[in-house]
C-alpha cells in the first residue's frame, strides 16, 4: 500500500494485534459497470443522487454535465465513460460522489454506492501487470476481498488525464 496515501493514525489499531502494527484504510466503495471501486473515505465530500444535469456541449466525452450542489457548480464526470465502458441506459439509476481536485468540486457518476470498508493494508496489491493500460493509470492498487476485487482509484489521475493537458 505504499502507493496509497491513506495510512491514517486514527486507523491504527495497535491494541488488538500485538506483534505487528496493523494499518487499515477506510474506503467508500462504489460500483461502476459491475466493477467494485474504492475511494479513501476522507476524500469524499458528498454522496447524492443527481437529478438536474446541465449538458455542456463540446466538452470531453466523459463530462456528463454540470450541476448545482447547494449553490456550488459541480462538474459531473461519468466514470463509465471515463473507464471506457458503454454509457448507461438513460433511465438507469446513478449516484454521484463528490470529490475535490485543486479546490474544484467534481462529481463522479457511478452506478451505485456500497458500504464503507475498513481494509487491512496488507491485503492491497499492486496493479497486476496485465491490467489494461487505461486502467493502470487510474488504479492505485487492488484489494483482494473475499469474493471480489476492489480497485482503489487514483483520484488525481481521473481528473488530470481527462483534461488532456494538466490544468493547474
Amino acid at each position: 500500500m505504499s502507493a496509497s496515501t491513506s495510512a491514517r493514525p486514527e486507523n491504527e489499531n495497535a491494541t488488538t494485534l500485538a506483534p505487528a502494527v496493523r494499518r487499515t484504510a477506510d474506503y467508500v466503495t462504489m460500483v461502476v459497470a459491475g466493477q467494485l471501486f474504492g475511494i479513501p473515505v476522507l476524500e469524499v465530500h458528498d454522496v447524492f443522487s443527481p437529478s438536474k444535469l446541465a449538458f455542456v456541449p463540446m466538452a470531453p466525452l466523459e463530462v456528463e454535465g454540470v450541476l448545482n450542489l447547494r449553490g456550488r457548480i459541480v462538474t459531473a464526470i461519468d466514470l463509465r465513460l471515463r473507464f471506457g465502458y458503454p454509457a448507461r441506459a438513460a433511465d438507469a439509476k446513478k449516484m454521484a460522489v463528490v470529490i475535490e481536485h485543486h479546490g474544484e468540486p467534481y462529481s463522479l457518476l457511478i452506478d451505485a454506492v456500497g458500504e464503507v470498508l475498513s481494509l487491512d493494508e496488507a491485503l492491497c496489491e499492486r496493479n497486476p501487470v496485465n491490467l489494461d493500460p487505461r486502467w493502470r493509470d487510474i488504479s492505485e492498487g487492488v484489494y483482494r476481498l473475499d469474493n471480489e476485487l476492489l480497485v482503489v482509484l487514483a483520484l488525481h489521475k481521473i481528473i488530470k488525464t481527462s483534461n488532456g493537458a494538466m490544468a493547474a
Partner: protein, 628 residues
C-alpha cells in the same frame, strides 16, 4: 475573490464629517446613523458608489430634512435623522438612505415635470405618486426652491443614477409625505454579475451576456424576416444589411437529444419560428439563431472547472434563479467559430488541390431510389436533372428507353428490384458520356450538398462504390461507371474491336481512394486493363519490377512525390520514357497546365471531366495503334 471584498464602512468614513459641515452650512441639526458598515462588497464597486452616496447624503440633508423650526411645528424632533443601512440581499448589496424629513413634494415634482416638458399633462394624469417620485432622477429637475451651494441645481440625482446604473445597479425612491423618503440603491456584489439573455437551442439552455446583444429578431417563413441561404451560408435581411447567421446548435455541435435528429442547418424551411440574437463583437455583427428566447436574468459569472476551460465558446457558468446550472456563451468564441467556417470556405475555393480525400469537399447530388436510405453521386458527373412523363417510357429490346432530344436514351434502374413509376412523372439523372446519354431513374432528388467524400464502408454490390457520410447521414455512393456499362454494353465491345486485339495496360496513380474507385472503372471501360497505385513511389516500384504500361494516368497533387516530379522521373529513365502520361488534377490552373507539358505530360485533364479523360485516352490509344 475574498481579497476584493471590503466592508462598506470604509466608504462611509468621511460621511460624519460631511454631515457636520452640512449642519453648519444649512443651520440644521442632523444625526447620521450608520447600520451595516461591515457589509462587504467588491472594492471596485465601492469606488464607483462613493461619490453617488455622498451626493445622496447631501441631497437628503438639504432637501429632505426640514429646518428645526419647521420640524418642531410638525411635532417632530428638531434633530433630523439620516439613516444609512447596508445589507446583503440575494447576491446584491442594498444601501438604504432614509431621512425623516418632509418627504418629496409630489405636487411640485408633477408641476416641474410638466413645465420642463418631461411629461405631457395627459400622461401625467396616468402616473402614480411613486412614479412621479422617480422623476427626481431625471436631468433638469430640482424641487428645491432656491439654489444653494449644496444642491438644487437639478444636476445630481440623474448623475447618481447613471453612475449606479453603470455598474449594473438600480436606485429607487419611496416617499411618504411628512414622514420622509427612502432611497434604495441596489448594486451587484461584484462586477462579475452580468445581465444575460437566456436562450434555448436543441433543447438546451444557454445564457448570452446582454452587453453584446444588439437586438432580437423573430424569424419565420411568413414574417418579414426570413432566414435565407446563399449556398450553405445562412443570412438574414436586417434592414439595409445582410446579417451572417449561425445556428447555435451547429456551433456547439449539439445533437437534438430529444428527437435524436441532428440539428440540421440545411433545412431552414422546416423550422417555423426562430429567433435571431443579433450579436456584436467588436465591429463584427452576426446573428445567433436559437429556438427559444426566455428572459433576461442577472447572473453571477462563475469560472468553469479546469477540465472545461479549453472550450472557447463558454465564458463561464452560473446558477439560475430556479437552481439549474447554465453555461454562459462567449460571443467572441462564437464569432471565432463562425469566422473559422468562413476561413475554411475561403481556403476551399482558393486551393482545392491541396486537400486530400479526407478533407476535399465535393458537391454531391443526394437522391433516393429503391429504398428510404439516401444515395449520392458526384454532381459533376451528372449532366442534367430531368422529369419525364411515365407514359413516355417505352420498352425496346428488353430495355426501358425514352425519346430524349431526338435520341433514344436508355433508362437504367438503380438496382434490379427497382420499379419504375407506373404513372405521373419520373425524375431522372441524365449522364452524358461522349456521344451517349443515359438516364438513371430515381424516386426523388433530395438535395445538393457539399461535403467531404470519404468512403467509410466499401460496398459488396457492384453498383455502389460504398457508403460515406454525407450531410450527417450514411449515404451510398453510386458507381456511375457501372450504370454506363449497363446502358451501353455494346459500346465497349465496339470500341475494343476498333482498337485491335491487344489489350492495353494503364497505370492509375492517385492518392485518393475515391478517385481510384471512380476512375478505374472508367478507364477500364475505355478498354484498358487498369493497375492502381496510391503514390509515386509505388508507381516507380512497378517500374523497377519491369512492369510495362501503355499509358500512365497520374494525379498531380499527392503527398510525397507529386505528379510533376513523377513525370520528370519517368522521362529521365529509359524504361518508361515513351509511355504517354495523362495528368489528372482537380486544379485547373493554367500555370499547372503549362508546367505539366514542360515536365512531359502528354495531356492534362480535370479529374471530374470524364469526357475529356476518355477523349484523351482514345487519342492515345489511336496514337499507340499507329505506332504499333
Amino acid at each position: 475573490m475574498k481579497t476584493r471584498m471590503q466592508p462598506i464602512g470604509s466608504a462611509w468614513q468621511k460621511l460624519p464629517r460631511i454631515v457636520r459641515d452640512l449642519c453648519n452650512d444649512l443651520n440644521k441639526k442632523i444625526e447620521l446613523v450608520m447600520i451595516g458598515a461591515d457589509t462587504e462588497l467588491d472594492r471596485q464597486v465601492m469606488e464607483m458608489i462613493k461619490d453617488p452616496l455622498t451626493h445622496m447624503i447631501r441631497n437628503s440633508a438639504d432637501h429632505g430634512l426640514e429646518r428645526p423650526d419647521a420640524r418642531t411645528a410638525a411635532g417632530k424632533n428638531p434633530i433630523g435623522t439620516i439613516k444609512l443601512n447596508a445589507f446583503h440581499e440575494g447576491g446584491h448589496v442594498i444601501i438604504e438612505i432614509s431621512d425623516d424629513g418632509a418627504g418629496l413634494n409630489i405636487e411640485r415634482i408633477r408641476a416641474k415635470a410638466i413645465s420642463s416638458g418631461l411629461v405631457s399633462e395627459a400622461e401625467a394624469g396616468q402616473l402614480s405618486e411613486q412614479q412621479f417620485a422617480n422623476f427626481i432622477f431625471k436631468a433638469g429637475l430640482s424641487t428645491a426652491e432656491k439654489v444653494t451651494s449644496v444642491s438644487g441645481r437639478g444636476v445630481g440625482l440623474d448623475v447618481v443614477r447613471s453612475n449606479i446604473e453603470k455598474i449594473g445597479g438600480t436606485v429607487d425612491v419611496r416617499t411618504t409625505a411628512g414622514k420622509g423618503s427612502v432611497f434604495t440603491v441596489k448594486i451587484p456584489l461584484t462586477l462579475a454579475i452580468v445581465s444575460a439573455l437566456v436562450v434555448e437551442a436543441c433543447g438546451e439552455r444557454f445564457a448570452i451576456p446582454q452587453i453584446s446583444v444588439n437586438e432580437l429578431v423573430r424569424a419565420s417563413d411568413d414574417s418579414r424576416h426570413r432566414i435565407e441561404r446563399i449556398k450553405e451560408s445562412l443570412v438574414l435581411r436586417l434592414r439595409e444589411q445582410l446579417l451572417p447567421l449561425v445556428y447555435l446548435g451547429d456551433v456547439l455541435r449539439i445533437q437534438d437529444r430529444q428527437t435524436g435528429n441532428h440539428s440540421d442547418s440545411g433545412n431552414p424551411q422546416q423550422r417555423k419560428d426562430e429567433f435571431v440574437v443579433v450579436t456584436q463583437v467588436g465591429t463584427f455583427r452576426f446573428g445567433i439563431v436559437v429556438d427559444k428566447v426566455f428572459d433576461t436574468e442577472e447572473i453571477v459569472v462563475k469560472p468553469v472547472a479546469p477540465i472545461l476551460r479549453g472550450i472557447a465558446v463558454f465564458s463561464g457558468n452560473t446558477i439560475l434563479g430556479d437552481g439549474s446550472v447554465i453555461m454562459i456563451l462567449d460571443p467572441n468564441g462564437i464569432a471565432d467559430a463562425c469566422g473559422n467556417i468562413r476561413d475554411e470556405q475561403e481556403e476551399d475555393t482558393q486551393e482545392p488541390a491541396a486537400a486530400s480525400d479526407a478533407s476535399e469537399k465535393i458537391s454531391m447530388l443526394v437522391f433516393r431510389a429503391g429504398g428510404p436510405e439516401p444515395k449520392a453521386i458526384p454532381l459533376s458527373l451528372v449532366s442534367r436533372l430531368e422529369e419525364i412523363n411515365c407514359a413516355d417510357i417505352e420498352r425496346s429490346n428488353g430495355k426501358d428507353v425514352v425519346q430524349y432530344r431526338g435520341q433514344l436514351m436508355p433508362l437504367v434502374r438503380i438496382s434490379e428490384e427497382y420499379q419504375l413509376r407506373a404513372e405521373g412523372r419520373q425524375p431522372l439523372l441524365v449522364f452524358s458520356d461522349a456521344q451517349r446519354t443515359m438516364g438513371i431513374a430515381v424516386d426523388e432528388i433530395i438535395d445538393i450538398v457539399e461535403d467531404t467524400l470519404k468512403i467509410e464502408l466499401s460496398s459488396g454490390k457492384p453498383n455502389m462504390l460504398g457508403t460515406a457520410i454525407i450531410n450527417g447521414a450514411a449515404t451510398e455512393i453510386a458507381d456511375v461507371g457501372f450504370y454506363l456499362l449497363k446502358a451501353f454494353p455494346d459500346w465497349f465491345k465496339e470500341s475494343r474491336k476498333s482498337r485491335g486485339k491487344k489489350i492495353q495496360h494503364a497505370l492509375l496513380v492517385d492518392d485518393s481512394a475515391f478517385y481510384r474507385n471512380m476512375l478505374a472503372p472508367l478507364i477500364a471501360s475505355a478498354g484498358y486493363m487498369v493497375t492502381t497505385v496510391e503514390n509515386a513511389d509505388q508507381a516507380l516500384a512497378l517500374r523497377e519490377n519491369g512492369t510495362v504500361f501503355d499509358v500512365i494516368i497520374s494525379d498531380i497533387e499527392m503527398p510525397g512525390m507529386n505528379g510533376f516530379e513523377l513525370a520528370k522521373d519517368i522521362r529521365k529513365d529509359t524504361r518508361w520514357r515513351e509511355v504517354p502520361i495523362v495528368a489528372i488534377s482537380s486544379n485547373g490552373a493554367k500555370e499547372d497546365f503549362e508546367r505539366g507539358r514542360e515536365v512531359g505530360f502528354t495531356d492534362y485533364v480535370m479529374k471530374m471531366d470524364r469526357a475529356s479523360l476518355l477523349r484523351s485516352l482514345s487519342e492515345i490509344i489511336y496514337a499507340n495503334g499507329e505506332a504499333a
